[in-house]
Amino acid sequence: MASFSTNEFKSGLKVMLEGDPCSIVENEFVKPGKGQAFSRVKLRNLKSGRVWERTFKSGESLEGADVLEIDMEYMYNDGEYWHFMKTDGSFEQMGADKAAVSDCLNWLKEQNTYLVTLWNDMPIAVTPPNFVELEIVETDPGLKGDTAQGGTKPARLSTGAQVKVPLFINIGEVVRVDTRTGEYQNRVKS
């Protein structure tokens, strides 16, 4: 893999830092009046999702990371691995371990498409679409006609995720949820 010097750092570039693949979020060149030039860089660790801030001497370099982000369809879980299939017509399948899917477990539904981050051809992270549609499997009975603003109640979705829904929602209905906030959006006509 090629290596990249600080002057090639730009957002989206995938590099290796402390053994982990990272994506550069932001790179700022700093040169105080009479002082040493350096780059202040924010990097997102693609395995943990955490954002690191590091500084580098001008001209320092980092090894590139062999990272690919592709759309894949979720198929099933065999107890140990969550299996995804490429959507490019190759039908190629890959198993992602718990660490890779952990942030996405609440939103995993068969036949839905997810963004899978591959590092050296291994899935390391799974990102759900911004909105998913899931079925309600558990909630208190709905109050007919109560569509007014206000009250919410807890509900459990088919994936096990807990969301707050309006009082009129019933078991068996499908709702649209924002995966970034975990908030109910609307009821989906089925």
């Binding site: 060149f29 105080p32 009046g33 002082g35 040493q36 202040r40 801030e53 590091r54």
Partner: protein
């Protein structure tokens, strides 16, 4: 292929108008415009400046990082107050406020105190802002020590390396780029990093910061401040969180100047950088230079600030990426 300039016609016109304003500003004050060579036989010994070299059939030359040395030789020859607008070159500097070549506005005022000169700098910036009807308030005058103490609760003029390392840690300021050589220059690296991360971005109003740490004195004089700490008679101007100008009460003592240049070379040697031959013509001239205050301002940055632009390629027609 990007053969076009990164600036539109409006930015070109604004540059021309601001150049005219600067020339008019100094003409009214009877400060003489001079043009010293872009080429120099000697380079700068500053640890953190990358001098570009030109291999000519006649020998090697340095592209000037600022016209400072040549202008000081003019002052020593009796030029009186002078200013210069022209290109300077600094390698390994590229960013939204940096380019390998930029336009420097540098001027010297024999007989001025640093405060008098900084007031003139403020007047020029204000005139530039007014030209483009850009909002500007009366400047804030503050010392480096007060700013630092307010932010970190520490006197920067007495802080040890360990104290500064602790501050970086407790304030989550990344310092991975600093190699500890256990010398004054390492302390400077920490001070610069802390200042640039936690203080500079907050200097939104036009701010004159004076009394820099003695270790960052460069070619300014040193004096004792009200707490009896030795500080540099150096001031910087910031606006919208961006450094615009750097001024000194100039050191005119040849022995002290030689000491400063030698110290730079010592710091360079510790860091594995090549030693820079001293500019003996500057050293010979400096004894004849009248007591003066001098300042260097990034003209492109001034243009950015007064026209509300955030990237230097909006004011320079062809930055390095488009050459």
């Amino acid at each position: 292929m990007h053969w076009q300039a990164s600036t539109g016609k409006i930015a070109l016109q604004q540059r021309a108008r601001l150049l005219m304003l600067v020339r008019d500003f100094f003409h009214r004050r009877q400060v003489l415009e001079v043009s010293t060579p872009v080429l120099g036989a000697a380079g700068v010994s500053d640890v953190h400046l990358e001098n570009l070299m030109v291999a000519a059939p006649e020998g090697d030359y340095y592209l000037q990082t600022s016209p400072e040395y040549a202008m000081k030789r003019l002052l020593a020859s009796g030029s009186g107050p002078i200013y210069q607008l022209g290109p300077v070159f600094r390698g390994a500097e590229v960013g939204h406020r940096h380019n390998i070549e930029f336009t420097m506005l540098e001027w010297y005022r024999p007989g001025f105190t640093l405060a008098e000169l900084m007031l003139e700098v403020v007047n020029l910036i204000t005139a530039g802002a007014n030209l483009f009807e850009s909002d500007i308030r009366a400047p804030v005058w503050v010392t480096y020590g007060d700013l630092f103490a307010r932010q970190f609760g520490v006197n920067p003029h007495r802080a040890s390396l360990q104290t500064l390392q602790g501050l970086a840690q407790t304030h989550c300021i990344a310092v991975d780029h600093i190699t500890n050589h256990d010398d004054q220059a390492t302390i400077n690296d920490y001070l610069d990093t802390l200042f640039s991360a936690a203080i500079e971005p907050g200097l939104d109003d036009l701010t004159v910061v004076s009394d820099f740490p003695a270790g960052q004195v460069a070619l300014a004089r040193i004096y004792a401040d009200e707490h009896n700490d030795p500080v540099a008679e150096r001031a910087e101007i910031y606006w919208h969180g961006c450094e615009l100008a750097n001024g000194y009460a100039e050191l005119v003592d040849p022995v002290a100047l030689r000491g400063r240049l030698l110290r730079n070379n010592q710091w360079r040697a510790t860091r594995g950088l090549r030693s820079v031959a001293l500019d003996e013509k500057l050293l010979a001239a400096i004894a004849f230079m009248p007591a003066s205050a001098g300042v260097a301002m990034g003209f492109d940055r001034l243009l950015m600030q007064v026209t509300g632009r955030s990237h230097i390629d909006e004011v320079i027609s062809f930055t390095a990426a488009r050459l």
